[in-house]
């Protein structure tokens, strides 16, 4: 087989535990986003756009839905002869099985897979981020710089820099130093978790990292610092555009609401980099005679008989007559019966909310008036109850709310 120019390794094994109820039954990359997508659609569609024909997807945490969602990658045109999309869960070898310990270890355990394609470069990305990016431009940069490793970076507001892995760069783009979540950041260039390595270099450092008993086997924490320590040619590739790690409930909420701005930075209607997803077979959505929708995203299969404002709905959502949904995210197949009010809430998949229910309205219990209310998957909320702002409800328990 001819040597491949590059392949991508997509890290999709994380639990995303800070997403709380959203990742109770599915891995973070499989979490629904933006009305009809799942988070991993963005990285996969970027691969398609960048004409990468071979993608290994490393999975580990509750992968069933992710596996059946991804399949062989047809939704992203990645079902290709001589390449294609491969799901790479942990496995048992002759000496037993080892779960993936960290991002670098996950790739280490799949060295044989990479060797089979014998690429010159390996792109490492994760399935956790919302962004549109042409990785081929980054590869060009990597080659122009004659780099051994290139890290995509994005400017973040200085006040937020201490939440990121921060790069200190020379004028030519060479990375001089790296600080993971520095208290006093010396730069506002944050690592996006997107790396290109020369495969020979990466392989060498994966072996070194594996031998180090103190390593957490993580790219950001271990492999990159070691490359820098060894004065390897590491460059930063400056990316312009929207990029968001939807790692917490709050950032997940914000990233969805960002899409409702008049000119959103992440424009789903811009086909330059088209975001593909596995299709549903639902009919068009219906807005009834008494229904009204403003400043919202509505996908197929919804039926809206009430009012919806500044909200993101997912396929199969039903909003009954007289109900009012504002500033909220209703995940797939959420059903709101009649005359209920939902405010600043995230309602989990398949949850049904009865009639005359109030969710997320203000309460004196919470000082933070911005607090989100979160309801988990598959809950049935009976008629007439009130769920206070800031509540986080896993399953329906009478004491968590009062019947009005």
């Amino acid at each position: 087989m001819a040597r491949k120019e590059w392949i991508a390794m997509l890290l999709a094994g994380g639990q995303g535990s800070r997403l709380g109820m959203l990742t109770r039954n599915i891995a973070k990359p499989a979490v629904p986003f933006a009305g009809k997508y799942r988070i991993i659609d963005f990285s996969l569609s970027n691969c398609t756009y960048s004409a990468i024909d071979t993608v290994g997807v490393l999975t580990q945490y509750k992968p069933l839905l992710l596996h059946s969602y991804i399949g062989i990658g047809s939704a992203w045109d990645l079902n290709l002869e001589g390449g294609g999309l491969y799901i790479l869960p942990p496995y048992v070898g002759e000496k037993g099985g080892i779960w993936y310990k960290g991002t670098a270890n996950a790739v280490y355990q799949n060295i044989d897979f990479i060797e089979y394609f014998d690429p010159r470069f390996v792109l490492i990305i994760s399935g956790d981020h919302i962004y549109k990016m042409d990785y081929s431009l980054m590869l060009e940069y990597h080659k122009d710089k004659n780099a051994e490793a290139t890290i995509a970076v994005i400017e973040v507001p200085w006040e937020e820099a201490s939440r990121f892995g921060i790069m200190i760069c020379g004028e030519n783009g060479a990375v001089l130093d790296f600080a993971e979540k520095p208290k006093k950041p010396r730069s506002n260039l944050a690592s996006m978790g997107v790396y290109i390595f020369n495969w020979d270099i990466l392989k060498e450092y994966l072996f070194l990292d594996e031998e180090d008993p103190l390593s957490e086997n993580d790219f950001g924490k271990n492999v990159i610092p070691r490359l820098l320590k060894d004065k390897r040619k590491v460059y930063a590739y400056p990316f312009k555009g929207y990029w968001k790690d939807v790692g917490t409930i709050e950032s997940y909420y914000t990233a969805n609401m960002d899409l409702l701005k008049p000119l959103p930075e992440m424009d789903l209607f811009d086909d330059t980099i088209k975001i593909y997803s596995k299709p549903s077979v639902l009919p068009p959505h219906y807005i009834g005679s008494g229904g009204g929708v403003k400043n919202s995203l509505v996908p197929d299969g919804c039926v809206i008989l009430g009012q919806v404002e500044r909200s993101v709905l997912f396929p199969g959502v039903y909003v009954g007559e007289g109900s009012y949904v504002k500033d909220s995210i209703l995940l797939p197949n959420v059903k709101i019966e009649r005359e209920s009010i939902i405010w600043r809430s995230i309602i989990g998949e398949n949850t049904t909310i009865g009639s005359r229910v109030k969710v997320g309205l203000k309460s004196d219990k919470y000082f933070n008036q911005e607090a989100l209310t979160v309801l988990g998957d598959g809950i049935i909320v009976p008629d007439g109850v009130e769920i206070e702002q800031g509540a986080s409800i896993k399953s329906w328990q009478r004491e968590e709310a009062k019947i009005s």
């Binding site: 933006a34 047809s74 009919p283 403003k294 995203l297 509505v298």
Partner: protein, 368 residues
């Protein structure tokens, strides 16, 4: 059971809408094409060997069906077969079921392994499981079973296979072109169940006699053959004029019709477009609309159907209209009783109103 979707030759009945596409490929219901209904019914009935008769205007249809993947018909064994038409350029108004097409593909019929065939037209919309019709067919000991629905006297364009007379025991005694009563007419749903061996016999007979119209053949032999009518109970529509196309489209705005047509016996599959969800902006106003994905709505839309990828500008008002895929409506436009075909561009300030129930049709890729 195997399935064959035939090709309505009298395609000019939908005017502009069938100018550049076959009847099968006429867009319907915000994201579908007419063929999606019989094709999905077949798939939902567990039929795995399905043939579609083509015409010369088949490109839209070929693009739409493509691999058959959306219908789970991209199979190694059997799956979707595209059959060339015997007379691709002839528009014969009368022949609804042109047996010549089947004669041209006789070896396909011969090689099939299934005992029964369901033949469907490409201009009937309903959501049904043909296994039920087959069960009826067996129970009645029928030679031929014809689907019909009871309805009032709507104006159907002339056709040899429009109306049946069905006796109480289910036996069909006549097939004709015009309704005989003002109410409770038995309207043909262009759906026929029979044994493959009988179909082959009928096709051979047609080849021998030169009488290629299945309706005629059945009528000629209405006493010799046990022809039964199967009354379909759910929502059903027969599209054979622009008026009926518009009426059935508008009926989709009733939630009950949506339920019966989109869900009753299984989903309706169609070609995938990867559009984003519909965005309604701060200025959008909506009442009683059905919309496919990827629309961008800044104006006011009422009692209308929007296909995938439609844009409606600020200050515009769309009423009682059907706007097809990727049409763009700029600001301050007024449209009422209008059908815009695909990729139409409506400039700022344009006002266009059709007559109630008789919409103006604007052809594909027009700029107005």
């Amino acid at each position: 059971m195997m399935g064959i979707i035939t090709n309505t030759k009298s395609e000019d009945i939908l005017g502009e809408l069938t100018q550049h596409r076959s009847m099968s490929a006429v867009p319907f219901g915000c994201r579908y094409r007419l063929i999606d209904f019989p094709l999905s019914n077949m798939v939902n009935s567990g039929i795995k060997n399905i043939a579609v008769v083509m015409t010369n205007k088949s490109r839209a249809l070929l693009d739409h069906l493509n691999s058959g993947k959306e219908w789970s018909l991209d199979r190694k064994s059997e799956g979707l077969f595209l059959l060339p038409s015997a007379s691709p350029r002839l528009f014969q108004k009368k022949n609804k079921f042109d047996l010549k097409d089947l004669w041209e593909n006789f070896d396909y019929l011969q090689r099939a392994r299934q005992k029964y065939v369901v033949l469907s037209g490409n201009n009937v919309i309903f959501n049904g499981n043909y296994q039920k019709g087959l069960q009826y067919h067996k129970e009645k000991g029928a030679d031929v079973t014809l689907y019909y629905k009871e309805e009032g006297a709507h104006n159907l364009s002339p056709g040899s296979f429009n109306y049946f007379e069905v006796k109480e025991n289910g036996r069909v005694t006549s097939i004709h072109s015009c309704p005989s009563k003002t109410e409770n007419n038995q309207v043909s749903l262009e759906t026929i169940i029979l044994e493959r061996s009988l179909l082959m016999e009928i096709v051979k007979l047609a080849a021998d006699t030169g009488n290629w119209d299945l309706g005629d053949v059945l009528l000629d032999n209405i006493n010799e053959l046990k022809v039964f009518g199967y009354p379909f109970k759910g929502y059903a529509g027969k599209i054979n004029s622009l008026v009926s196309y518009f009426r059935h489209s508008m009926e989709l705005l009733q939630p009950q019709v949506q339920q019966e047509l989109f869900f009753a016996n299984g989903p309706i599959y169609t070609k995938i477009k990867d559009g984003p969800p519909v965005k309604y902006t701060e200025t959008a106003e909506t009442a009683n609309i059905l919309a496919g994905s990827g629309c961008y709505i800044e104006g006011k839309v009422e009692n209308s159907l929007l296909f995938r990828g439609v844009a409606v500008g600020r200050g515009s008002l769309i009423r009682k209209s059907i706007i097809m895929q990727n049409s763009i409506i700029e600001e301050n436009v007024v449209l009422e009783n209008v059908i815009l075909d695909k990729d139409v561009f409506v400039r700022k300030g344009t006002v266009l109103k059709g007559e109630e129930g008789k919409p103006v049709v604007i052809g594909k890729r027009t700029v107005i």
